[in-house]
Amino acid sequence: MGKTLAEKIFDSHLRDEPFPGTKILNLDRVLCHEITTPVAIADLVWRNKDRVFDREKIKVVIDHVTPSKDTKTATQAKILRDWARRHDIPDFFDVGRNGVCHAIFPEKGYIRPGYTVIMGDSHTCTHGAFGAFAAGVGTTDLEVGILKGVCAFREPETIRVNLTGNLPQGVYAKDVILHVIARLGVNGATDRVIEFRGSVVERMNMDARMTLCNMAVEAGGTSGVCMPDMTTVEYLWEFIQDEFDSKEEALEDYQQWVSDADAKYTQTLDIDISALEPQVTYDYKPDCVKTVRDMQGTRVDQVYIGTCTNGRIDDLRQAAEVLKGRKIADSVRGIVSPATPKIFSDALAEGIIQIFMEAGFCVTNPTCGACLGMSNGVLAEGEVAAATSNRNFNGRMGKGGMVHLVSPATAAATAITGVITDARDL
């Protein structure tokens, strides 16, 4: 019997199986941010176990509220900063060098095929785009990860989603994943890994694959994964060129993680996306999805472009293409947060930031920001946003606010008209 990518990673990282079906895995990466880590640090100190299992494998960033907005968030940042210094953790990203965790860690080359990755953040599934098993965990799992370098998981089952056909003009990875979530439902993949396969995924760049995997958790999935291929190698090459003689050699090595042809899946979903239209959520669950044209005309107060789902350079390019030479509606507040300093800098060099500013957008520093209503860009009661983020829960972007999840192109088109708009109709 063949094995899936997730099963191969579980086999190679198995530390213990204390009970049948409970797998204790060795971790390659423990990622930390300032919201979920400080309580773990405090508990380790309280237990007199203020240690780290491997300072090279722990990567740390301040991203949710940065620069700090008040005493409480400054305290969270300080706890994380002091801890990173105390343990001499080399890869710690503070103000000026920090960005959204699920954008900056891949960008630094920290995520490789076959890795096990945890973080106290549900969208950790993003990193599966590299052929890694990457799962969001709570603070206690994070704490044990920091101290012992292990985490417990149930035996992985995998749902295979075959995406075939041709992505139509104006339709993007975000539209695909919203459609997949609508098909699976918000708990359709609970305790399962979602494997994104098919020619559509093979043609996607890493930014688009990360968008797909990022929202696996919105269907309940433990990790989203894509198979490592030459696109993965090309993205990682600057970080791995000392490890391999050639890209082909790297590719051959990474092939060991690719799911076997006779691997067993609990469910297979075949989706031809050739006729897919731009998608948008309504209501308060990410599986409540319609076509943008069905929601056309819904008024919005704010448009937010950024986040771990869609704050990468490719996303900004798609939005800028729509915004170029246009102005956003007077009734709309447009906010864009490039997800990392590098993305910000690349966007500047490409003239994208200029396009956003001339259109009337507020450009913020890299941060999670408005997505979860923790720092800037919070909605007032009764206000409506179109956002490139991943969650439309009640109160997510501010108490009493409504969030419609869309692609960067749809967000840009919506900012121009002030109502939800299909960019192809402009």
């Binding site: 549900s122 708990n187 309940g220 209503g373």
Partner: protein, 176 residues
């Protein structure tokens, strides 16, 4: 040390109650569990539910539907229950991270089939319901005026061991 389970129950008859409803993100700037205490279920959208009401104040057990705790990985969700003395959730199903967080904190996320949850929900019409949990026998007893119902439940040996150990840190520290 193992926590105590059982007591007055409150019924949240809705699926997909998410972590933002259990504890809104704006409170995630707190760095102690105790500070979360007043904000339990503050943004829950459910007709007739009052997050500041007496029923929730008294409750030590929550009975609910499918996919409870979906969304964020924030352990602040189990913590806000913990600091309000709610150590037991009984639901048709859970989101993975929330469920693991409950057991990691040494608390119980019990799964019962829909038919059993239906029966529990019906009990509330008779008055206040008290639910006792016998972990060793894997049994839930629901008591109300003149009626008692019993339900057996499954729990993985690992999750049970976490509850008995008092949580994942204790379990892992002893073994790894």
């Amino acid at each position: 040390m193992q926590k105590s389970f059982g007591g007055p129950a409150i019924f949240l008859d809705r699926s997909d109650i998410n972590t933002d409803e259990i504890i809104p993100a704006k409170y995630l700037t707190e760095v102690t569990k105790e500070a979360l205490q007043p904000y339990i279920l503050e943004d829950l959208k459910l007709e007739g539910f009052d997050s500041k009401g007496e029923a929730l104040k008294q409750a030590k057990v929550i009975v609910t539907r499918e996919n409870f705790g979906c969304g964020s990985s924030r352990e602040h969700a189990p913590w806000v229950f913990e600091v309000n003395d709610v150590h037991t959730i009984i639901a048709e199903s859970y989101a993975r991270i929330f469920r693991q967080n409950m057991f990691n904190c040494g608390m119980l996320a019990i799964e019962l089939p829909k038919a059993s949850i239906d029966q529990l929900m019906e009990l509330q019409e008779r008055g206040n319901v008290r639910i006792e949990v016998d972990l060793s026998r894997q049994q839930v007893n629901a008591l109300t005026d003149g009626e008692e119902k019993q339900f057996g439940f499954d729990i993985s040996p690992f999750d049970k061991a976490l509850v008995e150990a008092g949580g994942w840190v204790e379990f892992a520290d002893a073994r790894y």
